[in-house]
């Protein structure tokens, strides 16, 4: 048997290999079509990723010619770096405050707008306006609104006797982060509102009807029909929201530059400082990988939670 089957097998293998190359040759235009995409992707994503990992094991300064291998020093430094720990805490604080707020306000507005009332289009556009505005413009504008001397916030809060003396907002170490959060919520609510509206319109009306027949009031209908059925939408917003707010940078750069006393230094801003102010690309890459790890963990956790509850 063995003597017979060996050549046969080799024969089959040869045919397979030949057929494989023949198929590649026949579909050569397909390779040509994806070539530009694959080249750009390979250089700026795949190679970059590998290179970033390589950097984390080196002391890589763009101004010095020597780029020595340092083993795990960068990782070790990072774990003992108080400013890094602070930046992680700040980032978590920002995410923990801005994502739920944005989603809850967005859901509230969407529920109100999902009623047959006049002027819905106008309201929707109003809430959506901040989303269309370039982020840098929003940040600049809010920086002005928070201005201690001339800002509109202080003026109107003083007028309304809500505060007795002007607040320093962005330069107060307790108020700086909440101020940034407020601005981010303002610019993000429109998006979650629109997403929730789309979700709401997909809920079949019969469910509400039968809930009403069962004697459920408005609040109970929202609690037991709307919110459970919006779960995919909520999860989508949660994942997207957390991913993007863990990477918060623009607001910080424009509004606070990480201050006062590092109170708003987020992970990405801290990475920026190391890469482009202190020119240590190796350490900055290590910080970037810490962020990447956090993103992976968060996303995996959320999907696990979601899947877990779905199975029940």
């Amino acid at each position: 048997m063995a003597t017979v089957s060996a050549p046969v097998r080799r024969d089959i293998r040869e045919t397979r290999v030949r057929r494989f190359f023949w198929r590649m040759w026949r579909e050569r235009s397909a390779y040509l079509f994806i070539a530009p995409g694959v080249i750009v992707f390979s250089v700026f994503t795949l190679a970059a990723l590998v290179f970033a990992f390589y950097l984390t094991f080196h002391r890589w300064s763009i101004i010095e010619p020597e780029k020595p291998y340092v083993g795990l020093t960068n990782y070790d430094d990072m774990l003992h770096d108080e400013r890094f720990v602070q930046s992680v805490l700040n980032t978590v604080y920002f995410t923990g405050a801005s994502v739920p707020l944005t989603m809850i306000i967005g859901l509230g507005l969407a529920l109100l707008l999902n009623q047959p009332i006049r002027g819905r289009a106008i309201f929707r556009t109003a809430y959506y306006l901040p989303v269309v505005t370039p982020f840098v413009v929003s940040a600049l504008l809010w920086k002005w609104l928070y201005n201690g001397q001339y800002g509109l916030f202080n003026y109107y809060l003083l007028q309304g006797h809500i505060i007795d003396e002007p607040l320093l907002w962005l330069s107060d170490k307790n108020l700086a982060m909440p101020s940034v959060v407020l601005m981010s919520v303002w610019s993000g609510v429109g998006f979650s509102m629109v997403v929730y509206l789309a979700g709401l319109q997909a809920i079949p009306a019969e469910l509400y009807e039968s809930a009403t027949l069962d004697g459920a009031g408005t609040l109970r209908r929202i609690r037991y029909v709307t919110i459970p059925l919006l779960r995919p939408t909520t999860l989508f917003l949660l994942v997207i929201g957390i991913i993007s707010s863990l990477q918060v940078f623009t607001q910080i750069f424009v509004m606070t530059s990480g201050g006062p006393v590092n109170k708003t230094t987020t992970m990405v801003y801290y990475m920026y400082l190391w890469a482009f102010k202190y020119y240590d690309m190796g350490y900055a890459s290590t910080l970037a990988f810490a962020l990447f790890a956090m993103l992976l963990v968060f996303t995996a956790l959320q999907l696990r939670l979601f899947r877990g509850s779905e199975d029940v």
Binding site: F33, T45, P116, V132, P134, Y150, V194, L197, A275, A288
Partner: protein, 341 residues
């Protein structure tokens, strides 16, 4: 497709929620889109509920719009009244001096000159870079998407999964290596063939545009859309002797207009707003884009807020125009892209 990472699940969710992706307006904007609004059963909203709804919606809307009103108003005021308490909402004597100063036309005061006022070039740069990225990315995304959707070739799944898998990687991780890669592009910016000696694509439009020429997310969305196009159409074109590129160009592309439009709008929005990448790779004042210019302007010149407000209005306008014009076209694309998720 086997062995997909978590990200596609997110995308599937996005599709289920009938969504384009981050920061995209969704279906509910379509004023004339078909089944809008709740069914007749719930048409009767009590007067009290209605009043309550307005009592919440209206103040919130004012809070959302007020900063814009202030922005526009302030951009039309002379610097003096901007720094005034109480704030001026309706300028007594509207002036375009902020715009003139910003766009570098008309007479500039010595102080404005010394502060290094804004520059119309920022907007030309932004427009050029955003339009180029949008055109190239839409084309190359579509080309890749078509190939992944409709062609069977060895290695297709492996490459596609690689594309998808890296969507999860945050831009910040590749930012630093890309900065170094860009610096060492051979033959550009004074570099030799080894990529050393010069600055490569740093501080050039090349560096801004090239990394944005394809996007895995865009490819994924377009592919989902193209999968639904019947193969018979392509076979018919093949029998008629059309080349593969011809099929792509004259059969596939016209059928995908809504999805392409959605892709183009997202790309344009992202490119116009992009801040971090241009911030780090650009250094000469005549190449920087509008967001970077505005941000550096506020960091460097603390006082010329009238110019800054004028510049902010100009930077916002294209986004609002794009949003207004393409609103409906775009919604169609999202709805269709979503359905085929």
């Amino acid at each position: 497709m086997t062995g997909l990472t978590e990200e596609p699940t997110v995308l599937k969710l996005a599709a289920e929620a009938e969504l384009p992706g981050p920061r995209g307006p969704g279906g509910p904007f379509g004023r004339r889109s078909a089944p809008e609004g709740p069914p007749p059963e719930r048409e009767r909203v009590t007067l009290r509920a209605k009043l309550l709804t307005y009592l919440v919606l209206a103040p919130v809307a004012i809070l959302f719009v007020a900063p814009f009103v202030w922005l526009i108003s302030a951009s039309l005021q002379p610097i003096g009244t901007i720094f005034q308490n109480p704030p001026t909402w309706i300028p007594d004597d509207p002036t375009l001096s902020g715009y003139k100063g910003f766009l570098d036309v008309g007479h500039l005061t010595g102080a404005q000159e010394a502060q290094g006022h804004g520059d119309w070039r920022w907007f030309v740069n932004s427009a050029f870079v955003s339009v180029t990225i949008t055109v190239l990315q839409t084309f190359f995304n579509a080309l890749c998407a078509y190939t992944f959707a409709k062609r069977k070739f060895p290695g297709r799944n492996v490459i596609f999964v690689l594309f998808l898998g890296t969507m999860m990687v945050p831009g910040q991780v590749t930012l630093i290596p890309n900065y170094i890669i860009i610096q060492h592009i051979p033959f550009f910016g004074g570099n030799d063939w080894m990529g050393t000696g010069g600055h490569g694509w740093l501080d050039s439009y090349w560096g801004l545009i090239m990394p944005g020429v394809v996007s895995a997310f865009g490819i994924f969305l377009l592919r989902q859309y193209m999968v639904s196009i019947p193969d018979e159409l392509l076979d018919a074109a093949r029998i008629d002797g059309a080349s593969e590129f011809r099929i792509f160009w004259s059969v596939i592309l016209p059928l995908c207009t809504p999805a392409l439009a959605a892709n183009a709008i997202f790309t344009f929005q992202g490119a116009w707003e992009d801040f971090f990448w241009p911030l780090i790779i650009l250094s000469s004042p005549d190449k920087i884009t509008a967001p970077v210019g505005l941000a550096l302007f506020v960091v460097q010149n603390k006082t010329s807020w009238n110019l800054l407000f004028a510049g902010s209005v100009i930077a916002t306008l294209p986004m609002i125009v794009v949003f207004m014009i393409f609103q409906r076209h775009f919604i169609k694309g999202i709805a269709m892209t979503g359905i085929k998720g």
